[in-house]
């Protein structure tokens, strides 16, 4: 039972973190069609959530595995989770490389939207400015 739980934890980290990383990076590097500014902000926010989840889970899952395996004194899984810390460092390294290649920050980015710029419909007379047509 205990070994199954630790195995699930390890495989959740091994496949789950790269899965979310790929999904997040595809969203981040895509040019989606977003009709409104609000939709663009929502798209950027959910992309940020995915990428932040990657960073948190990549730290939390291996460390939790090491702690639990140490607590239940399971040498087999302790050894595996200690090795998973190397993989954790590699994933952070890959994230840092992608972040240094990107021109804008990976987290905290809003894609371009298709909302037209607001049209000027009224003329306000202003001192020193141009006069309004017809008045």
């Amino acid at each position: 039972m205990k070994r199954i739980g630790l195995g699930v934890l390890l495989f959740a980290w091994l496949y789950g973190v790269p899965f979310l990383l790929i999904v997040g990076l595809i969203r981040r590097t895509s040019s989606p069609y977003l009709a409104t500014r609000a939709a663009a902000q929502a798209f950027g926010a959910s992309t940020d959530t995915i990428l932040v989840t990657v960073l948190v889970l990549n730290l939390a899952l291996p460390l939790a595995g090491v702690l639990i395996a140490l607590l239940v004194r399971d040498r087999y899984w302790t050894r595996r989770f200690v090795w998973s810390l190397v993989g954790m460092a590699l994933i952070y390294f890959a994230f840092a490389i992608v972040g240094s290649v990107a021109r804008t920050p990976l987290i905290g980015w809003t894609p371009a939207d298709q909302e037209p710029a607001p049209r000027v419909t009224r003329c306000m007379p202003r001192s020193g400015g141009r006069g309004c047509p017809g008045g």
Partner: protein, 116 residues
């Protein structure tokens, strides 16, 4: 077959499962990532294959890239066989074999492009 040989075969099978898990993870992640991206509603779809949905793209890639996929699996199998002599952990063998298989296919593709 002796005890050691049997456990070695079991470990080799596990490492192949790990490698297959990597392929499934990457393909699923690309599919999920592409599905989450809204496309422009007013695209010109008159040409063939100009407006494919991500699911259809995957099917097309699997059909057209069949030889590449077979090459990936064969090279992953061979790299896993080599690594199994050096490393004991099936997880590490499967992961490195996936990376090694991709590298072998990439190098072979580059050589083939260069020779052609």
């Amino acid at each position: 077959m002796d005890e050691l040989g049997a456990s070695r075969w079991a470990s080799f099978g596990l490492s192949l499962l790990v490698a297959l898990g990597w392929y499934a993870t990457v393909i699923a992640a690309v599919l999920v990532g592409r599905l989450g991206i809204p496309a422009a509603p007013d695209q010109d779809c008159s040409a063939v294959f100009s407006c494919l949905r991500p699911q259809e793209e995957i099917v097309l890639i699997v059909i057209l890239g069949g030889p590449i996929l077979v090459g990936l699996l064969v090279s992953t199998l061979m790299v896993a066989g080599l690594l199994a002599r050096l490393i004991r952990s099936p997880i590490l063998i499967g992961t490195l074999a996936t990376v090694g298989g991709v590298v072998v296919v990439a190098v072979a593709g580059a050589v083939w492009q260069g020779v052609r």
